[in-house]
């Protein structure tokens, strides 16, 4: 049955990681007076090699994830291991460095690693949290269905708008035209609605129609002073159509926002990984040359 990636195979990789951490600490404690803890001791070397091996293994997830016919474990298993082993690096790499930090390339690699791990934590949090939010936001529907409904809704709005006096009609059409659904990346991320509307057909000025509120306000006040019965009926149904539209747009925008949340952290995680690999190579070269 469905199993959360942390619980994968009954916490197989958590158990493995704990074992590893204990062994690393034991190994670290074997340092003695003669050889104080350092990356250059025998123990330091082992810990450094383990750390490097893990970093390569974790980076390999990006490849394994796309080796679709590979039957070496499942991507879920790899990701589960990724998370636990990645977290263990916090301790193992620190033990390797024997908690020495300074202004050098070694420490740069170390901090880059910390940054990758932290961004990984955030990613894990999103993976655990947002799917549920997304599912609740959609209540059984899907993004495509909402978009379709909006398109259909808009067609009816256009039809009904034809029954209203000229300036209201143009106002409504401009509200449709200037609705922004997705927008730029950062507004997607913030779930910002930058929809606008032209109050007067001839004016150039666009005023905010955030959340369709301006339209709904204008329409609700227009209902009470409509020209004739036909227009009153049309305005009334427009009001309900726009309320539905408001709701649908909210869902769609929120969907886009959540989908962005689920991806945006990788924009840090992956480049930081690349930087880490570069710093690590330098670190290793440096210690071999100057040591």
């Amino acid at each position: 049955m469905h199993q959360n990636l942390l619980k994968y195979k009954n916490y197989r990789y958590l158990k493995l990681t704990i074992l590893l951490l204990i062994s690393s600490v034991v190994l670290y404690l074997t340092h003695n007076e003669a050889q104080p803890p350092n990356g250059g001791t025998f123990q330091g070397y082992i810990l450094g090699i383990i750390s490097t091996f893990f970093i390569l293994l974790l980076t390999y997830l990006g490849i394994r994830k796309r080796k679709y016919s590979s039957s070496i474990g499942t991507v879920e298993g790899w990701t589960s291991a990724h998370i636990y082993l990645g977290t263990s690096l916090l301790l193992i790499a620190s033990l390797h460095a024997a908690f020495q930090i300074g202004w050098n390339i070694h420490t740069l690699a170390y901090f880059l690693m910390i940054a990758v791990v932290l961004s990984g934590f955030y990613g894990l949090f999103s993976y655990m949290h947002y799917p549920r939010v997304y599912s609740n936001n959609n209540t059984g529907g899907s993004q495509d269905e909402w978009l379709q409904e909006i398109a259909e809704n808009d067609e009816i709005i256009k039809e009904k708008a034809g029954l209203c006096r000229g300036n209201i009609r143009l106002f409504i059409l401009s509200a449709l035209e200037h609705t922004s659904m997705s927008g730029k990346f950062h507004s997607q991320l913030r779930g910002k609605d930058s929809s606008t509307v032209k109050m007067q057909a001839d004016s150039k000025k666009l005023i905010s129609n955030k959340n369709q509120e301006t339209v709904i306000n204008v329409l609700s006040s227009a209902v009470s002073n409509s020209l004739n019965k036909e227009e009153a009926i049309a305005l009334n149904s427009l009001l309900s159509l726009f309320s539905r539209r408001q709701r649908l747009l909210k869902i769609v925008r929120r969907n886009l926002q959540i989908k962005t949340y689920l991806k945006v952290w990788l924009l840090f995680h992956i480049p930081l990984t690349i930087a880490l690999l570069a710093a690590l190579i330098v670190h290793i070269l440096v210690v071999f040359i100057y040591w």
Binding site: Y68, T74, E76, P131, S135, S142
Partner: protein, 837 residues
């Protein structure tokens, strides 16, 4: 009064053309002064069915193991090329063909038939060959001017022919909708629907047509509740009209073309009017024919699709052979060598035809089948022989030699004691024992032995569920292994075979459900008195509160049990084939405590109180088992009923077809991060085409059922595949092989919309090049891929999920999901899925 002929051939499809060409050859050989044959065709050109394939369609020449035997040529290729060649061949061979000649009646008898055309002309003939295909003629409007013309059409071959035209499409079925949508965009479309909704359309088509109608930017109009009053053929300027009878009164539309898609009139009525008998009333029933394709009417022959042979090459071969028969030449059919191959490894020195006759006599159920049908059964089946290891070794050599010459069908050789199938296999072929014995092992110390003339494998055949026993062949045993498709076809056309299999099925099902201590005779009487009932999906078996006087033993499909009424309905349990429904009413409280409904199409045995008592009285031991099974069921269903959400989830899953699924993809929305890696994995492991659409598909309570194959117990898609290209693997996967001819029947028949017709996609640059140089679209299906001319030539083929049967490690979608959201479940995990939520 017309001329008289030796043979009149009706219908110039591949079958009729080939027959006429062969007749023309014989005329030439016999140096007849005038043709002794006449080919009548209702259309203005030869081979209407092929003419109506979509433009540029690649026509296949399956089955590849069969050689063509006809003066007409036929090789796989483009529709246009084949039709062009046929027109040449007709001239070359001096075929006496007459177009625009629809035959409306055949009267008289051999050797003086009278064939009458629609225009009143008639001809007499000694023999008549009916080769009018299965397509039937399109239902016409029944108005003045409704004859097929450029203006008034009944099909749409090439939507591109229309540009900025006004087209009226009449009809509300899938064909009408697809034509209307195909033409929309460049043209003004009016679709005429007699009702107020499109109730007969598939979901996909329904949504598409509604959105086209609602889209006010489109010139796409629907006229509901509207009939056609009259049509005005185009005047000399080419302006035609149609007058509609709408709820708002008459309405005239000026149009360039009318396309009516009102379905077809099946040819059966016409065939029956000629005196030909059909074995039963089932829609796919095929007339009885003898070895020479002769029907029960002497001198009236039936060949091609109408005679049950759905492929072009078969139809053409029959055309050739039937003329030879009529001329008194006893030739061996083109597939005779196949028959010889089938029998090759058997220890007989006998002519294939004689072995065939012998086998038919050995199996009581087949004895009275007509010879042609039995012959087809054997050709489509495999003959299996089990030998002890010594003989096996020897015969193996012969086999190796034969295989080396590249034969397709050969006797199947196994070792005595080997399993024909194992418990749990999804194979569904049907076995008939000709010689020797087969042991069926249900459990470790429970087995029974079947002997010559008996058959087995009917359980999986009828229920679509895995095998319930191991089957072990004894020494020197000879068996006929028949594929499911052939057996189903046979059961539909032969009541005796259907009854024979049904009775045995019932006896064995009762045996395993009630373990009665009855004699074979008592069992047979009981079995033949039990009624086999059928329920359509969502039909009810009984309602809560009813007074129950019978129970049901499910033969195929899934039944859901529910408590409460409409809004408050709680689906508590689903039961599958082999399980009992409604036994409580006979074992205590006669008032039904649940309502039972068919989740998918269900077949069940209805067992009355009386019959039930007979069964259990004979073995009181079994009552205890039945009682404990029942209390387990009750416990389960009450605990389910107490969780309202779980009952709703069950209902949702059943609605999504999981009741008939053997392997379905289920995504947990609470884990899915929308990365679409599952879909990409599918495309990457299946020639670049994803067989799964993750985002589409229904969701409920955090469970999402994407558009993806369920690998149904009784796959709907297999039903009308003319090339027999859809199969079920032993491990359960339903897959399409390379013999697909792209007809699209499976796409129409799958209720879950999971099959798509697709061109081959070009090979993509590797993922590495994508990462480094940005070449290609990266992993996943390339929506903008350029279809190569070669792929276009090959044509669209049906593609669907094969559950990665050829991949190591199982389904790629599941293996690629980073979060564990995507899993595949089998029927016995269904309950767990619901309970765990």
């Amino acid at each position: 009064m017309g001329q008289s002929y030796k043979v009149i051939i009706i219908g110039s499809g591949p079958a009729g053309l080939s027959a006429a060409a062969q007749a023309a050859q014989l005329d030439k050989k016999n140096a007849s002064s005038s043709p002794t044959h006449l080919l009548l065709e209702s259309f203005s050109q030869p081979a209407k069915t092929i003419n109506q394939y979509q433009k540029g369609k690649h026509v296949m020449d399956e089955p590849s193991f069969l050689n063509l035997r006809s003066p007409m040529s036929f090789k796989a290729g483009k529709r246009e090329a084949i039709l062009g060649k046929w027109i040449d061949d007709i001239k070359q061979n001096n075929v006496n063909i007459q177009y625009d000649s629809e035959v409306i009646s055949i009267t008289g008898q051999h050797p003086d038939f009278r064939v009458t055309l629609k225009d009143g002309n008639s001809y007499s003939s000694e023999n008549v060959i009916l080769s009018i295909g299965f397509q039937g003629n399109p239902r016409k409007l029944g108005l003045l001017g409704d004859d097929e013309s450029n203006f008034m059409r009944y099909t749409l071959e090439d939507p591109d022919e229309f540009d900025e035209k006004t087209v009226v499409v009449i009809g509300a079925g899938d064909a009408a909708i697809e034509n209307a949508l195909g033409l929309s965009g460049n043209n003004e479309i009016h679709i005429i629907n007699r009702r107020n909704e499109f109730s007969r359309a598939k979901d996909g088509n329904l949504n598409a047509v509604l959105s086209a109608i609602n889209n006010k930017n489109n010139d796409f109009y629907c006229h509901y509740n509207t009939n056609v009053k009259s049509i005005g053929l185009p005047d000399n300027k080419g302006n035609g009209t149609i007058i509609l009878d709408t709820p708002e009164g008459d309405k005239t539309i000026n149009c360039d073309c009318i396309i009516a898609r009102l379905g077809a009139i099946a040819p059966r009525k016409f065939v029956e009017s000629c005196g030909v008998n059909f074995p039963n009333n089932k829609p796919d029933s095929i007339p009885d024919l003898d070895n020479h394709y002769q029907s029960n009417v002497k001198g009236l022959y039936i060949i091609g699709a109408l005679g049950g042979y759905p492929l072009i090459k078969q139809a053409m071969n029959q055309g050739h052979d039937v003329i030879e028969f009529i001329h008194g030449h006893e030739i061996k059919p083109a597939d005779h060598p196949l028959l010889e191959q089938q029998f090759k490894l058997l220890p007989y020195v006998m002519d294939a035809q004689n072995i065939l006759d012998l086998y038919q006599q050995k199996v009581p159920m087949f004895k009275r089948m007509n010879a042609l049908a039995f012959r087809e059964l054997i050709i489509e089946s495999t003959i299996v022989i089990a030998l002890d290891s010594l003989n096996h070794q020897e015969v193996q050599k012969t086999e190796d030699n034969a295989r080396a010459t590249g034969v397709d069908k050969l006797t199947k050789l196994i070792k005595a004691g080997d399993k024909l199938f194992s418990k749990g296999d999804y194979s569904n072929s049907f076995y008939t024992i000709v010689e020797g014995e087969v042991k069926l092992v249900v459990e470790k110390n429970k087995s029974f032995t079947l002997k010559s003339g008996q058959f087995f494998g009917e359980m999986s055949l009828l229920s679509g569920r895995p095998r319930t026993a191991d089957a072990i062949a004894s020494e020197d045993c000879i068996l006929i292994e028949t594929p499911r498709r052939i057996m189903i076809k046979l059961m539909n056309s032969n009541d005796e075979v259907a009854d024979g299999i049904n009775t045995v099925f019932i006896m064995r099902a009762l045996q395993s459900a009630f373990k009665p201590n009855l004699s074979t005779k008592e069992m047979t009487t009981l079995a033949s008195s039990i009624e086999l009932v059928e329920f359509k999906a969502s039909e009810t078996l009984f309602n809560q509160g009813d007074n129950g006087d019978c129970l049901y033993l499910i033969r195929s499909g899934t039944v859901s049990l529910a408590q409460g009424s409409n809004e408050n309905k709680r689906v508590t349990t689903q039961l599958q084939s082999g399980e009992l429904v409604g036994q409580l009413a006979l074992m205590g409280n006669p008032t039904r405590t649940h309502s039972a409904a068919a989740a998918v199409r269900v077949e069940a045995l209805k067992i009355t109180q009386q019959q039930f008592l007979t069964l259990i009285k004979s073995n009181t031991e079994q009552i205890k088992t039945l009682q404990s099974d029942l209390s387990l069921l009750l416990k389960k269903s009450h605990s389910m009923a107490s969780v309202f959400e779980a009952t709703q989830t069950t209902r949702f899953l059943l609605d999504q077809g999981l009741g008939e699924a053997t392997n379905a993809l289920v995504i947990d929305e609470n884990l899915c991060v929308n990365c679409d890696n599952c879909e990409k994995a599918c495309a990457e492991t299946h020639n670049g085409i994803s067989r799964l659409n993750r985002e589409d598909g229904a969701s409920f309570a955090g469970l999402h059922i994407p558009i993806s194959c369920r690998h149904c117990e009784q796959p709907h898609c297999m039903k009308d595949c003319p090339a027999d290209a859809i199969h079920r693997a032993e491990s359960g996967e339903v897959f399409i092989d390379s013999s697909c001819i792209g007809c699209g029947n499976c796409e129409t028949n799958c209720p879950y919309d999971v099959i798509k017709m697709s061109y081959d996609l070009p090979k993509k640059p590797s993922t590495l090049l994508w990462v480094l140089l940005g070449l290609g679209n990266g992993p996943g299906e390339d929506q903008n891929a350029k279809i190569t001319a070669q792929a276009k030539d090959k044509g669209k083929k049906a593609v669907k999920c094969d559950a990665c049967m050829e991949q190591k490690g199982g389904p790629a979608c599941v293996r690629a999901c980073p979060t564990g959201a995507a899993i595949r479940i089998s029927p016995n995990e269904f309950a767990e899925l619901v309970e765990n939520r």
